[in-house]
């Protein structure tokens, strides 16, 4: 009898895991585009309500897991031209380089440093990585409503091949649109970051959040990213996503 219950339990768990993976795969597939470009405004509101603002342009080529991203800061004047190149890999952590035009040189951001906050924002360098759903294991934890939208609540855990500062995350996926509504990232039992997606618009048939609000719990600060002029499938070349291009175009 006990054996029968155990087999039943594991079979049910496996099916739930498969469902969770299918959900995540669907989310990834619906957002898939050959490239993406937008202009972003990054607003950091610190614990004393002091607001600092930066603007950047964001270019991505390729799809999640094997994409390449260039973020180029355009304002304020002191950071204009500073650029970040992120090269994502499906089975391991991304490679990241930063270009500082005033010094006319690039620096590699070492893997060990990815948990560092991204230039005073509430994002970490790791949060800038594009996540491939296959790098994680998923299970469905239940269903909840977020921002009025019924959602699946999933748990993701990085596979061993993927090193992360987070041990696991809780993801709320909108059942109707297959988009993220909220992600909470944990280290052990401790909540580290909370990311809330908002202002969804359908752009080129892809549901796209124009606002992302991230909070590093415990710091009492938050960072809001507003995106504008967002386009998908913009013609881009691989050569634009190299260190040489980073140096050349800054």
């Amino acid at each position: 009898m006990n054996k029968f219950l155990a087999v039943l339990f594991f079979t049910a768990a496996l099916l739930r895991a498969q469902d969770a993976r299918r959900i995540m795969q669907e989310v990834q597939d619906r957002a898939r585009a050959a490239s993406q470009r937008y202009e972003g405004t990054l607003k950091v509101i610190d614990s004393r309500n002091k607001i600092s603002e930066k603007r950047w342009t964001y270019d991505r080529i390729g799809s999640a897991g094997s994409s390449k991203v260039v973020i180029r800061f355009s304002a304020p004047a002191e950071v204009k031209g500073v650029a970040l190149l992120v090269v994502n890999h499906p089975e391991r952590s991304s490679d990241q380089w930063m270009w500082t035009p005033a010094l006319q040189r690039d620096r590699r951001i070492a893997f060990q440093d990815r948990s560092t906050r991204f230039f005073g924002t509430d994002f970490s360098f790791e949060d800038l990585e594009e996540r491939d759903s296959n790098q994680y294991d998923y299970t469905i934890l239940g269903e909840e409503t977020v921002n009025g939208a019924p959602c699946w609540k999933l748990e993701s855990r990085p596979k061993k091949s993927k090193s992360s500062q987070y041990t696991h995350a809780h993801i709320w996926v909108d059942k109707a649109r297959y988009v993220f509504e909220k992600i909470e990232s944990f280290h052990g039992g401790k909540l580290i970051r909370r990311l809330i997606y908002g202002d969804y618009r359908r752009i080129q048939n892809i549901w796209t959040p124009l606002t992302m609000e991230i909070e590093e719990v415990g710091r009492k600060s938050k960072t809001i990213l507003h995106t504008e002029k967002l386009q998908y499938n913009v013609p881009m070349k691989e050569e634009q996503f190299t260190l040489q291009a980073l140096r050349r175009e800054s």
Partner: protein, 850 residues
């Protein structure tokens, strides 16, 4: 009980002598505590800075001082055992702010450095680095400590100027760190900047000074160290941060040895003062001792009494010595610190000068033990006093024929050991120290006999000057050999120390001058720092090209100096174009044929060793030596050994091409510039500054200025020797005053009788003056003779045991000649007080004495 009955009344009656005795010990302890505390404070300050900068760093990767290419970082970060590895550049620069001196710049990669170091900000929030992205994006960004900010009224957004490779540069303060922890390193004079910006402003090219790293939690230190060593090869040093302190200690070893020798000698002289005092006390209190013995006091009780007295005096002297020693350390610490900076090019900052309980305890033990050791012979003599013979005054002040004979035999034995040690093979240290000690002991044992003979020889001269007073003074000295010889021995040792140290100082200057004349012959030296020994800044090689294009420059030599680890010690590598050097420089070659030596080294097939380093490390001509470099261990034969004072630890000279190839570093510390005929040094200097002064941090020093700098640093180094000489002379004065005080007290009745039978006060005074001056003359003569012998040992010890430096023996005649009148004058001045006391004391009391 005995102490209260016997000692206390005696001490009260002879306050001055008790004070002098205490001072004898106090002086030794002052020197010991002062020098050790100052030295330790500097070392402690350095270690504190290292610890605070290290944060959670477990291991540091370096390649001597030379730094290494950036690529090494990625290899280290990729190692599975490593959790965090971050690059570091350190530089010490002048702040230019009044009273602030230097500031330590710690340049790190802020995107990853927080894994190792805790940066706490004034506002408790990282955002108080007024935007971390701006901090990285702008190369003028700097963070300072709140202490430094408060001291200089600086705030976030403010500007501060530092010397950099591209001249004075304005930096913008973009963060203020809270005090404590990291921020208190280097006494709070710490600034953090981006490492890639630092590479530019400090001329580091694409290299880092070192990598600080933390291992994964489950990786033991030894395993991590071994994995890194395997990855990088033996050209890299992979050590915990604490080893930097050990290296610093190793660099400053010679200073520490000097400080220890100084205090040991000061205590040795103090020992003689105490011996003298107690020998006299025993003599004066013989009758009391005799009575006590007759009443049943055991010889052990008597001996214990004197030992207890000496322990109390030693304790008092030690306490005074510790107090003044700590005061002296406060004054000396910054001096020692700046001396280290100038000589070794290692900047550090003394944060606190505090009493180390270990030093204080050791000083107490040494002070008391020295005092008891000095009193042990008089105490033993006291315990042997025969109650019946105790009332026989005078006899005890002379040596018995048996005692004199034993002294002569012992002295002969020590001289035989000294002679034998000259031929001893094997341990150089044992040979020299045994010989030195034997000669000193023989001299001490022979002092009574020699004093007697010298005073007897002097008597006719004294009589011819002042018949009555001269004869009385000479006779007093002859009649009291115990008292006189102890004083003479103390003064003799002081004078021998002065002669020996003076000889070392003279020989050092002679040798240095000769080296400077042979080697330091360029017209100009173009350096990136005001101090030629400072290696914080380096030129790119391209500056050499620009200098070469100047038509008034005849020849240019590019010099790169850097400390590397060789056989466990930090030594200086000097890389220069040997072909050019061989045409211009003719050092004293100790081993090897000069033309072959230069040919082989210029071709990269050998290195030249400084004689001192070769000696200390046992390196011989033709030996294959292994020098660690970032490209692996460089194995080259020793093509020659020359006299070279480029560095106190010793230098290894190699061709520049070998250095550039193996260290992947073509930067330059100093350009040696030879001007064309007809171009004066001042004109050459002006023209170089006109052409390059605006584009680069540049200091052009004339040959004369460099020589003056070296001599100034040497003067500062020998200032410690002069202090030692001062202490020696002071102790000599103390000895003479002590001896005269005792002599007058002893002879109160004799002097009283002299006055009673019509002797004039003037005559009494003159007798005492002559006695004092005779002691001085005899002591100086013996001291100078002993100094001649110990100079030989000093030079041997310096060469074989301390610095490996080959110094020529040359007796310091001028110092010797100046000492004779100086000491006689000092003795005369010392005698003024006791002489006045003698003539002004009550005649009745004097006649009643005894």
């Amino acid at each position: 009980m005995l102490l209260r009955l016997l000692t206390w009344p005696y001490v009260r009656k002879h306050k001055l002598r008790a004070i002098l005795t205490i001072l004898g010990i106090a002086l030794g302890v002052i020197v010991f505590v002062g020098m050790r505390t100052a030295n330790d404070s500097v070392l402690y300050g350095f270690q504190q800075t290292v610890d605070r900068l290290a944060g959670k760093t477990q291991l540091q990767i370096s390649s001597g001082e030379t730094g290494f290419p950036e690529e090494v970082l990625e290899r280290v970060q990729a190692l599975p055992e490593v959790e965090t590895a971050v690059p570091v550049i350190e530089a010490t620069v002048r702040t230019g702010l009044p009273g602030q001196g230097n500031i330590l710049i710690l340049a790190v990669d802020m995107t990853g450095d927080r894994g190792l170091r805790q940066y706490e900000f004034e506002e408790g929030d990282e955002s108080f680095i007024d935007d971390p992205l701006v901090f990285l994006a702008q190369p003028d960004s700097i963070m300072i400590t709140s202490e430094f900010a408060a001291r200089n009224h600086l705030a976030t957004g403010g500007r501060i100027s530092f010397d950099t490779m591209i001249g004075p540069k304005q930096f913008t303060i973009r963060g203020i760190m809270k005090s404590g922890g990291l921020a208190s390193a280097f006494g709070g004079n710490l600034a953090i900047m981006d490492i890639y910006a630092a590479q530019q402003v400090f001329g580091r090219g694409r290299s880092f000074d070192r990598i600080d790293l933390k291992l994964k939690p489950d990786v033991p230190l030894a395993r991590g160290q071994s994995a890194l060593q395997t990855l990088l090869g033996s050209g890299y040093q992979i050590e915990p941060p604490s080893s930097r302190g050990q290296q610093f200690e190793s660099i400053t070893r010679i200073f520490s040895i000097g400080a220890s020798l100084n205090s040991a000698f000061a205590l040795l002289i103090g020992l003689f003062i105490i011996y003298n005092t107690f020998a006299i006390a025993v003599t004066q209190r013989r009758s009391e001792i005799g009575i006590l013995r007759a009443l049943g006091a055991s010889s052990r009780q008597i001996s214990g009494l004197f030992l207890l007295e000496s322990a109390i005096l030693g304790l008092a002297g030690s306490i005074i010595g510790i107090a003044f020693g700590l005061l002296m350390a406060r004054g000396m610490a910054n001096y020692v610190s700046s001396l280290f900076g100038e000589i070794y090019g290692v900047a550090q900052r003394v944060e606190t000068v505090a009493a180390d309980p270990k030093i204080v305890a050791l000083a107490l033990v040494i002070g008391v033990a020295t005092s008891m050791l000095a009193a042990s012979i008089p105490a033993r003599d006291a315990s042997r006093v025969d109650p019946a013979a105790a009332l026989h005054k005078g006899a005890y002040e002379s040596f018995s024929p048996r005692e004199s004979r034993l002294r002569l035999i012992a002295a002969a034995g020590f001289l035989a050991i000294a002679a034998f040690s000259l031929f001893l093979r094997g341990s150089e240290g044992l040979r020299l120290y045994a010989g030195y000690l034997s000669v000193v002991l023989a001299a001490i044992l022979l002092t009574p006999a020699l004093v007697r003979r010298l005073v007897v020889a002097l008597r006719p001269l004294l009589r011819s000057l002042l018949p009555v007073e001269g004869a009385l003074a000479a006779d007093s000295l002859i009649r009291s050999p115990r008292r006189t010889s102890a004083t003479v021995a103390a003064v003799m040792l002081s004078i021998s120390l002065v002669a020996g140290l003076g000889g070392v100082s003279n020989a050092s200057y002679e040798s240095l001058m000769s080296w400077m004349n042979n080697v330091l012959n360029p017209d100009l030296f173009v350096g990136a720092s005001e101090q030629i020994s400072d290696r914080s800044f380096r030129f790119p090689a391209s500056i050499g090209g620009e200098l070469r294009r100047m038509d008034f420059i005849d020849e240019l030599q590019m010099v790169r100096t850097a400390r590397v680890m060789f056989r466990g010690a930090p030594v200086m590598v000097v890389a220069v174009t040997i072909d050019s050097l061989s045409r211009r420089v003719h050092p004293q070659v100790i081993a090897g044929d000069p033309s072959t030596m230069y040919r082989e080294v210029a071709a990269g097939r050998g290195v030249i060793f400084a004689d001192n380093l070769a000696l200390l490390k046992g390196v011989k001509l033709g030996d294959i030596v292994e020098i660690p470099s970032p490209s692996g261990v460089l194995k080259l034969p020793v093509a020659g050994i020359t006299i070279d004072y480029s560095d106190q630890q010793g230098a290894i000279l190699m061709d520049r091409s070998v250095f550039v190839r193996n260290w992947k570093d073509d930067t330059v510390n100093v350009f040696r510039v030879y001007l064309r005929k007809g171009v004066s040094a001042s004109e050459g200097k002006r023209r170089i500054l006109d052409r390059l002064g605006a584009q680069s941090r540049l200091f052009v020093l004339t040959n004369d200025q460099v020589r003056r700098f070296i001599l100034r640093v040497t003067d500062q180094w020998f200032a410690l020797t002069y202090m030692q000489i001062f202490v020696a002379v002071l102790v000599a004065i103390l000895g003479i005053v002590n001896s005269l005080t005792v002599s007058i007290t002893d002879r109160r009745r004799e002097l009283g009788v002299l006055q009673a039978v019509g002797g004039l006060r003037r005559q009494v005074r003159q007798t005492i003056w002559i006695e004092a001056m005779s002691i001085a003359l005899v002591s100086v003569l013996l001291g100078l003779a002993l100094g001649a012998v110990i100079l030989f040992y000093y030079l041997g010890i310096i060469r074989e045991q301390i610095a490996g430096v080959r110094l020529e023996y040359e007796y310091p005649v001028r110092i010797a000649l100046s000492l004779i009148p100086t000491m006689i004058a000092v003795a005369f001045l010392s005698a003024l007080g006791p002489a006045e006391s003698a003539v002004r004391s009550s005649l009745v009391e004097a006649l009643e004495y005894e």
